[in-house]
């Protein structure tokens, strides 16, 4: 009971503290570290909740036997340590939470996977008809809206530029834009985005996952900016972003405006600071805590039970 409560408290605490820590300006210096930190934070929160529910349900789960034999303790002692004064209700709730959350996560993930594959297949088919291969290794479509995007999947994926984007960008800017998109494809940024997206869609009422998804999207763009542009090229990339973002004709009336572009351009035009090793180390240490602490909290009653059984046995042997 106490383990479950502590785990829920841990999840709540790291959600709040973590989100605050990851909304500080340092994330702009190392977008890659920040992406990994957001993912570690989200994973830790989900794991904590699942472990809390498992701890509640443990007296009713076959897992109790394996845990007992693993720790060399009596199953009854283990059960005693996880039992609650409220009878079997917490166990039933715990079981349904574990079952429900797992089912929801798997269902959303499978559904997004299927949809994503369908959209990409339609795109590839359409590109085959209207696109033409550029010798530079990308696809050009005739269109008067300047647009640049990448289509991940099937081997290396494809970078697509519209003819208006080709006309708008000079050679150097075009190479930078291509470098940016190719970085997305090579580093499989779409998978990172799919992960944070699956959590955000499964738990639409948990603000942490929505924030994490939005942040991961922007940070991946920054990571691709960094990979594409050397310090000398950053201004050219910034001007390419501005050109593509403003070259859109008003009648196209696109759905969303891109406030994130503002932050990126400011970042690219401001003085460059190299990513610091310290940040990476701090993030790694943070992730280690995020993963080991919930597991420790969940296991604590079992370990205590094992210790008690061990002592009883010693007492018995001394007594005889």
């Amino acid at each position: 009971m106490i383990a479950a409560l502590l785990l829920v408290a841990f999840a709540a605490a790291v959600s709040i503290l973590g989100a605050q820590l990851l909304s500080r300006p340092w994330v702009m210096r190392s977008p890659r570290v920040a992406v990994l930190s957001w993912q570690a934070l989200s994973t830790s929160v989900v794991t904590s909740i699942l472990l809390a529910a498992t701890a509640l349900a443990l007296p009713f789960l076959p897992l109790r036997f394996s845990l007992a034999s693993l720790l060399g303790a009596h199953t009854l002692t283990i059960v005693e340590h996880y039992e609650t004064p409220l009878g079997s209700w917490p166990g039933i709730i715990g079981l349904s939470v574990v079952g429900g959350l797992t089912t929801m996560l798997v269902a959303t993930t499978v559904r997004s996977f299927v949809r994503t594959r369908r959209v990409r297949r339609l795109q590839r088919n359409a590109l085959e008809l209207v696109g033409r291969r550029h010798p530079g290794g990308f696809t050009v479509i005739e269109h008067d809206v300047p647009i640049a995007y990448c289509l991940p999947g099937t081997g290396t994926g494809t970078v697509v530029l519209s003819s208006a984007a080709m006309a708008l960008l000079d050679d150097r800017e075009r190479e930078l834009v291509l470098g940016h998109e190719r970085r997305h494809l090579r580093a499989r940024h779409d998978l990172a985005l799919a992960y944070s997206g699956a959590l955000a869609r499964t738990f639409p009422h948990v603000p942490l996952f929505a924030t994490a998804h939005a942040q991961v999207a922007v940070l991946l763009e920054m990571a691709a900016d960094d990979a594409a542009a050397t310090p000398a090229d950053r201004r050219a990339l910034a001007s390419a972003i501005v050109a593509l973002g403003t070259g859109v004709r008003p009648e196209t009336a696109l759905a969303a405006s891109d406030t994130a572009a503002l932050v990126r351009v400011r970042r690219l035009t401001s003085t460059t600071r190299s990513p610091e090793w310290g940040l990476g180390l701090a993030a790694a240490a943070g992730a280690a805590v995020l993963f080991s602490l919930p597991l420790g909290l969940a296991m604590a009653p079992a370990l205590e039970a094992a210790a008690r059984d061990c002592c009883t046995m010693i007492d018995l042997s001394v007594g005889s």
């Binding site: 795109q123 008809l129 209207v130 640049a148 779409d190 799919a194 973002g245 403003t246 405006s257 891109d258």
Partner: protein, 121 residues
């Protein structure tokens, strides 16, 4: 499969460029200098395009005449709808360099660019 896709693309290019109803025979003649094709192959490809809803056809004498359902530009615009829309499916499927800037944001960005234009990059 991939080759069939390329052939479909080549046939569509031809239909789009002629701009009038075209028979299988004419299409075959237009494509053959570039590749060796059988009449039946081209007929199958055009039949596929018809069943996919990409081309319309009407009977003229013994043969069908084919016309694209939508122009090349319309087709491109239709495909880009997916890219430009902010739907959940799109966001998961593609990654976009920059979505859209409104007038205020654009002005701020241009200012940010020119502000530092005199500094060494």
């Amino acid at each position: 499969m991939r080759q069939l896709g390329q052939l479909e693309a080549a046939v569509m290019q031809h239909l789009w460029s002629t701009g009038r109803p075209v028979s299988v025979r004419e299409t075959l003649e237009a494509l053959t200098p570039a590749r060796a094709l059988a009449y039946t192959t081209v007929m199958t490809v055009m039949d596929n395009l018809h069943s996919k809803g990409l081309v319309a056809r009407e009977k003229q004498g013994k043969a069908y005449l084919y016309t694209p359902v939508s122009s090349r530009d319309e087709h491109t615009a239709e495909m880009l709808q997916d890219v430009l829309s902010d739907s959940e499916d799109r966001t998961a499927a593609l990654m976009h360099l920059v979505v859209k800037l409104d007038a205020g944001e654009a002005a701020t960005l241009l200012a940010a660019l020119s502000e530092r234009a005199d500094e060494p990059a």
